[in-house]
Symmetry: C2
Subunit: 204 residues, 2 copies
DNA sequence: ATAAAAATCGACACCGTGTAGACTTTTTTC
DNA sequence: GAAAAAAGTCTACACGGTGTCGATTTTTAT
């Protein structure tokens, strides 16, 4: 975790396999875009990465494992970005900042994010990854709601429950919009912002 | 469509195949609950319905077709229920009535509804079925919002766009809750009601 | 009763998966 | 820089699920 372990000499202490691994994940992402999860075969991925099926199984035990690794790589990115987001005291500003960031994430990683959502049910490790990601968002939304004066508590009309519903609204709305176009994503963002602000009592 | 064609004699003019078809769909639903879509095999369904794989292919061309038929049967039910819902003039009442109905639907058909959502991407006919269903809900929500004074128009903070976002919020929230318990569904309903009412301007 | 239509079966060919064992390349160690 | 170990790669195979075909039996209509 802390690591990086800058190679003692000045040349790459990078295993050949590390390069292959990245090639596999990149190919997987490309194929996901071109053919979709179902149609994509282990042979396809191997071929795209310039090796045979047999060799691929040296790295990953199944198609699911490959995709899980891809999702993990992407989701790592999301967490990174969340951590780096500037804190602000004004709830209104927090909402627009959060949604702007979300638009960026979906623009860059929409495909993998949609795949993660689709596979959450069937591939448990992906489900956990995505649940954790959602929890981060929910926590962030909860914080904003509370700062805006929505009471904390377990009741269905208090911050945590509302944050969960708003999170699902955003997830699903962006999920659909990201299949359409950048503009759709932009509008989706505006709509979500409006509902979020209204339900936080921040709109007269 | 109008039909029924009450059998001339007093015996069933019901093809043997009609019974089998129902048996297949019922078995499919049971297996979906027990093993999930991926794990369920055409052989399993056939066996459960008391026939061989070969015979099943006489009725349906693939596992996807079977599930599509099951979704169609269920969705038919949803449309039916929507049509029979009493019209009311008070928006507040309309919201609670709509959500009460939604809770009932998810209680009864949660499994198939979740399956339909999961397969919307990969099985186009199911995608169409579900899109159409969603459109009905969106139209209903739009109507309530407009009656509550939210302006009509294509802008992201006007009725149609908001209705879409609210629909996705409800879908996703209920999707998750229906995996938990009846109580979760009940609370989900309360939270959605609160956000819906607030964003319609119906909560002081 | 008989002919047509509907339903069922078993066998087969195909395709994707995952594993095993032999072989080659890269890295480490002395 | 040679030998040993580790990492990487390949081909071949066995398995399981799919969808199709032609033969056969059962049901329905006349």
């Amino acid at each position: 975790m802390p690591g990086h372990q800058p190679p003692r000499g000045r040349r790459p202490a990078e295993r050949k396999g590390d390069v292959r691994e990245r090639a596999i994940l990149d190919t997987c992402e490309a194929l996901l875009a071109r053919k979709g999860y179902e149609a994509m075969t282990v042979g396809d991925i191997a071929q795209g990465a310039g090796i045979t099926r047999g060799a691929l199984y040296f790295y990953y035990g199944s198609k699911q494992e490959v995709v899980t690794a891809l999702v993990a790589r992407t989701v790592e990115h999301l967490w990174e970005r969340s951590r780096l987001t500037a804190r602000t005291d004004d709830p209104r500003e927090a909402v627009t900042a959060a949604l702007r960031r979300t638009v960026e994430l979906w623009n860059e990683h929409g495909l993998v994010m949609r795949t993660a959502i689709d596979l959450s049910l069937t591939v448990p490790p992906i489900g956990e990854l995505w649940d954790h990601t959602a929890d981060l968002f929910i926590a962030a939304i909860t914080a904003v709601l509370e700062r805006a004066g929505v009471p904390t508590g377990a009741a269905p009309d208090q911050a945590p429950a509302m944050a969960r519903a708003l999170c699902w609204m955003i997830e699903r709305t962006f999920y659909h919009a990201s299949q359409e176009s950048r503009e759709a994503l932009q509008e989706a963002s505006a709509t979500c912002a409006h509902i979020w602000l209204t339900s936080a009592g921040l709109v007269a």
